[in-house]
Symmetry: C2
Subunit: 227 residues, 2 copies
């Protein structure tokens, strides 16, 4: 059971839970589970009946799906503040994606029943859920277009820029999210060797620098111009 209380948790301001009335939050506090995951841990798997949502308090994860060719595609990255499993809860279906921690995470699990109470009683909450799904859908549609129309090199450049904007950099300017070359390949949908090759090229061109897995963007404008 949770130590902290949902009413006092700042992270809920980042997602639809911000619209829950205080009595609903008290209900949540009483039945939530605080979990922690280490890098590489699986939060849930494609096909799991998750029966609730996960609120990311700290850390980030990748949402992947296994393709029929045996490769895992990373469909998107989720950051602290995001709610996972909304879609499955709403559709009343098993998870369509697998969630894997990309660094150490603290997560609250909120059981389905409690959330459902929220959205029959709180119209603002369902409106917020609608908005967040609508946003996810828009982003997904845009990814479809990028996948279909842009080169691997451009997709990889845009991925670096995306991570820079959405996850930021540390004191040394290194991207806060640390991914393997294989992860990068699975985001842009290419072979691992191709991702490695292109990142090496970006390094030679001075667009990025790499210290092991840690990447620093050296030339944002240059990356934006990659075709």
């Amino acid at each position: 059971m949770g130590i902290s209380k949902c009413e006092q948790c700042a992270i809920r301001q980042c997602n639809a839970l911000k619209s829950l009335k205080s009595y609903a939050l008290v209900g949540l506090s009483g039945c939530k589970t605080s979990l922690s995951f280490k890098k590489g841990d699986v939060l849930f798997q494609e096909g799991d009946n998750i029966n609730g949502v996960f609120c990311i308090k700290q850390g980030a994860c990748k949402l992947t799906k296994l393709s029929s060719n045996g490769k895992d595609q990373i469909v998107r990255l989720a950051n602290a503040g995001e709610l996972l499993g909304q879609r499955s809860l709403i559709s009343n279906e098993p998870a369509n994606l697998t969630a894997i921690a990309v660094n150490n995470m603290r997560v609250c699990f909120l059981p389905k029943q409690e959330i459902e109470n929220g959205f029959t009683s709180d119209i603002d909450f369902s409106v917020d859920l609608l908005k967040s799904l609508a946003q996810e859908l828009k982003l997904a549609d845009n990814v479809i277009v990028d996948m279909a129309q842009k080169s691997v090199k451009k997709r990889l450049a845009e991925t670096l820029l995306y991570i820079n904007v959405n996850f930021g950099v540390d004191a040394d300017g290194l991207l806060n999210i640390v991914l393997t070359r294989d992860d990068y390949a699975n985001i842009v949908g290419t072979a691992t060797e191709s991702a490695i090759r292109i990142l090496s090229q970006f390094k030679k061109e001075g667009l990025i620098s790499a210290h092991g897995k840690k990447i620093k963007i050296e030339n944002i404008e240059g990356l934006k111009c990659v075709e």
Copy 2:
């Protein structure tokens, strides 16, 4: 103004409007606009403030997005019964996609205000909207994986199978949706010549037959096995 009444319209059973209470339907009837579009007509464009939703009574359309390389990607096809513009309405944003009729269409336009009244008063309506967005999101995620991981040939085979299942065939077994080779290319995200070449190959292999633009699937199992 509409001739028929929303209360008596069967097509709304196919989408979230089925959950509107009868008084809300009467309100809609009073302010809806019945439109018709011919093949190739634009219902709305990416960037338009559509200020309402479109309910497709008859016909089908393609939802496209212009990529930075100047090509139009077909993100999905929408059939009779579907509601267009839900996402924009919810996000309160301009349309992210362009809708173009692929055959003759009859469509009702339902203004935003009226729909919004529906979802503050009718919890079932917002739940249904949530479910339909959730479904769209799941499909979009699956398309991302397919785009990233499958060959052009496989994507084209799956597109034919998708159209077969979702739009059906006429008395002669020809697919009900008639698309140009260019449209097929823009669905799977390839060059027009590549789409033409692969369809020719499918013809030679006896998987399909083509009578001008009209396509008939001759060997469903064969198409399913295309890699």
